[in-house]
Symmetry: C2
Subunit: 232 residues, 2 copies
């Protein structure tokens, strides 16, 4: 029996090593073991100052390091609003992580802070595409006109029904979706929810929905005299 001791020890050692192999490989590749992001934001959001998040650096994408995301930098805004975290600042932060692409599919978009965040990403070289509802494009306070003016592609429906989605996809990796229309009224007064999900499966189906609608709302297909007025 004694002769079995070391082969058994070697076997156990090897078995454990095989178990640990994926973690070791991740460590060698310098990847931190990180849980995918799963967050829920509830609204109404406390009204906080978001200037530190939204200060537009002239620098393009490469120079826009993590410092652009840190709040209340020295010499930052001195206004009387609280400078802590809020549901709105968490939403802004989630958007501002975009480095390559941002898809927005939004019924209504009039929040100035969210509009500034999207313009900032566009300036940094992120490819931004926006789908919205035609009835809400030119409403008082809508951000859509400003985004178009800044050179961001926007497409809209021409249906009787509403384009009522309220989702965003960041870098084709994170889905942001919920009940929240991107308006100050909703952010500050309504009971709303927003899920932030780093989840391949959900991102995939929402991205497919986005691409389907994006193609369907191709301006080459617009008609300029719709048959009927939209019903609510």
């Amino acid at each position: 029996m004694r002769s079995l001791r070391w082969p058994v020890a070697v076997a156990l050692g090897l078995a454990l090593a095989l178990e640990a192999l994926p973690a070791v490989l991740r460590w060698l590749r310098g990847e931190r073991r990180r849980r995918p992001r799963r967050e829920v934001l509830f609204f109404p959001s406390q009204v906080t100052c978001t200037e530190a998040l939204l200060q537009a650096p002239d620098a393009p994408l490469a120079a826009a390091g993590p410092s652009a995301l840190t709040p209340a930098a020295p010499g930052g805004c001195q206004c009387s609003l609280p400078h802590g975290e809020s549901s709105l600042s968490s939403l802004l932060r989630a958007l501002l992580t975009a480095r390559a692409s941002l898809e927005l599919c939004l019924f209504a978009f009039s929040s100035p802070q969210l509009g500034r965040a999207v313009q900032l990403l566009h300036q940094r070289g992120v490819r931004v595409r926006v789908i919205t509802d035609c009835d809400y494009m030119a409403l008082n306070g809508s951000q859509i006109g400003l985004l178009r003016k800044a050179g961001i592609q926007v497409r809209h429906d021409q249906d009787l029904g509403y384009m009522h989605h309220k989702f965003a996809i960041v870098d084709k990796k994170v889905l942001i979706t919920g009940s929240l229309n991107w308006t100050t009224q909703a952010i500050q007064n309504n009971r709303e929810n927003v899920l932030i999900m780093e989840d391949e499966e959900y991102v995939k189906v929402f991205l497919e929905e986005f691409e389907r609608i994006w193609e369907e709302f191709n301006p080459t297909k617009y008609t300029f005299f719709p048959q009927e007025k939209k019903i609510h």
Copy 2:
């Protein structure tokens, strides 16, 4: 080198056995390996007949077995609508799995089919609680009055902001949430999404939000002459 052969074989065997251990334990405990439910429904939904799902058996909870959920039973509805699956029928099915509790937190609720499903669950002894927005309680076609008449508890806000959530929690296990208001207009005409997630973490935070609002909207706290009219 020959002497290493069998320790290596044993090591591989052990590693595989360790890998398989969780599955073996589940099998020994008699648990079926079932992926938690993760589904996305997109709208507008095809208009299909949902009678087979909604035929109300007189039987209470215990007798309402899976047969109540099978579509187009022999002798079922012979109407001219298609009898296949649709986003609406999937949503109805997800709700009708409730056996113990159903929390609804809905901005607008006027879909007759969804109203019937909720009443059916109430008849079967499921504990149904509804939170809604006060402005949408008495709208033309609202289901809220019918649900109250049937004896279902309903609470509403008295805020200037909207109670704009659109979520349901089935048996404290499955979260149903998205952009969809439970109206026929939205179901049949709008671009909408609904996530169906069997996910402890998300259920927990949404249930906490429900209980928080439920307590806040306790009728003992209602005031009957609000100071100001709601702004949109």
